[in-house]
Amino acid sequence: MHDKIRRGAAGLAALLLAAPVWAAGAGAKSEPKTVDPARDWDHLWNEVIVDITIIGILFAIVTAWFIWQARRRPGNEVGASPKLSPASAVGWVVIPIFVFLSIDLYTAANGWVLWNTFRDVPANRLEIKLEAGMYSWDYTYPNGVRTQNELVVPAGTPVVLRMTSRDTLHSHYIPDFRVKEDSMPGRITYLWFNPTKPGEHLVTCAEYCGVMHGYMAGRIVVKAPEEYAAWMKGEETSLAAATAPAAVPATATKPAKTAAKKT
């Protein structure tokens, strides 16, 4: 008899624990063509919000109904809550634990899948170095081009920021891409996003960094690939013009031109 109950309970437990993992796995199999963390974020966010809204409304209705039913009135001067038998007292602990735990693990499994999307940077990425400071965002492209508070990127190429800070904590937050990560002195952190369409996106600081924290803003300008190439060529030329005379005055233009050709 006891063995049967134990085996039944174990089976139930296994089922409840396995179901969310399976459900999350089933979702992961239909791999989309382009990886877009922001789109996946919206999807999971909406799903979780719908779930908690349903749970919340159910709880609230039950509670409101209990309260209304139990209002004090003639003939109801003292409460009459049922006395629980030991078995039902234990049941009221074990069953909710399984229900809550299965919701938790389902959420966790989905969250983990999305987490991997946010942390696994695609191989065809554009690597940008970011140094944050009070109060600006300083970007450095792989070819040495530098911009401040404005990052120009080509549409369709994933962009990864390798971030550090020269003074206090900052957090590079791009609301449109649903992503942020702190930067700090002494460590390199990263985030990536996938700009699919040309456009402009706000960048704002999300970690308290000092007096002008609220004004530490910038933008990400997504250009069509050919426009981006043209812009980059212009930047390279002006970079070469700016750095070359100081370094080696006579032959400065040659290496800069070859560098521009390579891109």
């Binding site: 209990f66 009459a80 959420t107 609301p175 706000l202």
Partner: protein
């Protein structure tokens, strides 16, 4: 009644009342800070101050004083002092003089916190005090460190005192399974304080040592590490959320079972599953405050699971509360309205925390108004409603007089409407991208009308809270006599006269075998 008697009192009830007066004063100051911030944010650009530093000082004071000067002292100072010895049938606490020391230290801490307004470079490090900013700012970080250390020390000696009191001074026949839920909750909160406050003390000491004494704990150019502080800080400050949550939900259990005249549903589930479960999980979830701060990935994923598992003990405590309402006999008086208010506010606050347990969702909304709205619902507002309800609930015992029911209810409804306007809108603009701790939101002009609605809501809830405090003051001066047990509760604190004399009972009480603090009987 003379002042000297009150200042040098060792009577736990008077110590409790001193804690209440100090913490309500702190609440008023921190509340005014909130109103100033809301006024500033009502338009884009400078509104009432052109100096962002001024705004940051308000923000620092609001957070630090609400948590360290109001909620923790009101719950583990006032309620614990006033109720625990009465609930367990003790004459006083185990170490009455130590108890007096703890309330003095609390006042020193509050005065130190209020000096913020009078010193030249007030602290502007937020209540978290993160380095490197806290070690390079011109603001006075030492002030922050010492305020935290003194209030922490006050809390630790309070913890030792109450654990000893409950262990050794229970009335004959009062076994552990007959303790009020509030007593269990507060004991658990003190256990957490004793374990984790020293970590916070270490953290805030180290930033002051870095800033003033030339050490380099958090300076990476000299071998330190910035993230270490955040780990130490949240290793205390997440359990601190339960140091607030446990006593306030304990207060709500007392309110709801008394005014529904109903036994607590599944007492052992609440105590061992709910309170015990929270104590077990409290120290394993701090990384959810650091989901976007550059922690190791495995730690973020691991603590996502532990954080989600918090829903189990908290869910059991909610089932206990709602079960206590079931088939009760509910009277909708002021304390009960606050108690029921907490159930709904906490439901919203708890559920909106679920997405924040998931690092991949937090990466989008961390450090936005969504987080601010969430933690105000779950801790700030729910906790404050419990404190206000609790003061109303034990008001007849404290003063022997009755508060005014009409003004009490009006105050409740104003605050209830006000907080929902403020914090619901706050969560909404947060999801749309509004970051927290902004003096100005010039690059989010689309949120101006939402900010104005929040300012209106803040004004409404401030009127509600002010009405409640005025109601207590007038009630204490010339309320109608309340009698010893106006709620007809079998719980021990109602068995003595109101207000209880020094020593609480003429002769020490004992309880019979069939007695239970929630044993309501017909007739």
């Amino acid at each position: 009644m003379n002042l000297k008697e009150w200042i040098f009192t060792t009577d736990h009830k008077r110590v409790g009342v001193l804690y209440l007066i100090g913490s309500i004063a702190a609440f008023a100051v921190a509340g005014i800070m909130a109103l100033l911030m809301r006024a500033e944010l009502s338009t884009i650009g400078p509104t009432i101050t052109a100096n962002p530093s001024q705004y940051n000082v308000w923000l620092y004071t609001h957070g630090a004083v609400m948590i360290l000067g109001f909620q923790i002292p009101a719950l583990t100072g006032f309620f614990a002092n006033f109720c625990i010895p009465l609930m367990i049938g003790a004459k006083d606490v185990a170490f009455p003089r130590v108890n007096a020391l703890s309330v003095w230290l609390f006042y020193v801490g509050v005065i130190l916190a209020l000096l913020t307004f009078f010193i030249p470079d007030p602290p502007d490090v937020m209540w978290t005090g993160y380095p490197p900013y806290s070690t390079i700012t011109t603001g006075n970080t030492a002030m922050y460190s010492f305020t935290v250390l003194i209030l922490g020390f006050a809390s630790i000696i309070g913890g030792v005192n109450f654990l000893t009191t409950v262990a050794y001074m229970r009335a004959p026949g009062l076994t552990l399974n007959k303790l009020n839920i509030f007593v269990w909750c507060t004991l658990a909160a003190f256990v957490l304080q004793l374990i984790f406050v020293p970590v916070l003390g270490t953290a805030v000491s180290l930033i002051s040592m870095d800033k003033y004494l030339g050490t380099n704990f958090f300076d990476p150019t000299k071998g330190g590490d910035v993230l270490t502080y955040q780990n130490l800080f949240w290793f205390y400050s997440h359990p601190a959320v339960y140091v607030i949550f446990l006593p306030f939900i304990g207060v709500v259990y007392e309110i709801i079972s008394v005014h529904a005249r109903n036994a607590v549903f599944n007492y052992k589930m609440v105590v061992y599953g709910g309170v015990g479960g929270i104590v077990l999980l409290a120290g394993e979830v701090w990384v959810h405050h650091l989901y976007v701060s550059g922690m190791a990935d495995w730690l973020r994923i691991g603590q996502m699971v532990t954080t989600l598992m918090i829903s189990i003990p908290v869910g059991l405590m909610m089932i206990g509360l709602i079960g206590t309402l079931y088939k009760g006999s509910i009277e909708f008086n002021t304390p009960m309205l606050y108690g029921l208010g907490v159930v709904f506010l906490f439901l919203i606050g708890g559920l909106t925390g679920i997405p924040l347990a998931v690092p991949s969702l937090t990466i989008g909304v961390s450090d936005t108004y969504y987080v601010v709205g969430h933690f105000h619902y779950v801790m700030a507002v729910a906790g404050t409603f419990a404190i206000f309800g609790g003061v109303y609930h034990w008001f007849p015992k404290m003063t022997g007089k009755m508060y005014n029911e009409f003004w009490g209810k009006l105050g409740f409804w104003l605050t209830f409407v006000g907080v929902n306007i403020v914090f619901w809108i706050m969560m909404d603009v947060g999801v749309k991208g509004m970051p927290r701790r902004y003096y100005d939101y010039a690059h989010f002009p689309q949120f101006e009308s939402a900010h104005q609605w929040m300012t209106v809501g803040a004004g409404i809830l401030a009127i509600g809270f002010a009405l409640a405090v005025l109601n207590w003051i007038f009630g204490a001066i010339n309320g109608k006599p309340a009698g010893d047990n106006p709620w007809n509760s079998p719980s021990l604190e109602w068995s003595t006269v109101s207000p209880p004399p020094h020593g609480n009972w003429p002769s020490p009480p004992s309880v019979s075998e069939d007695w239970h603090p929630y044993g309501y009987k017909k007739g």
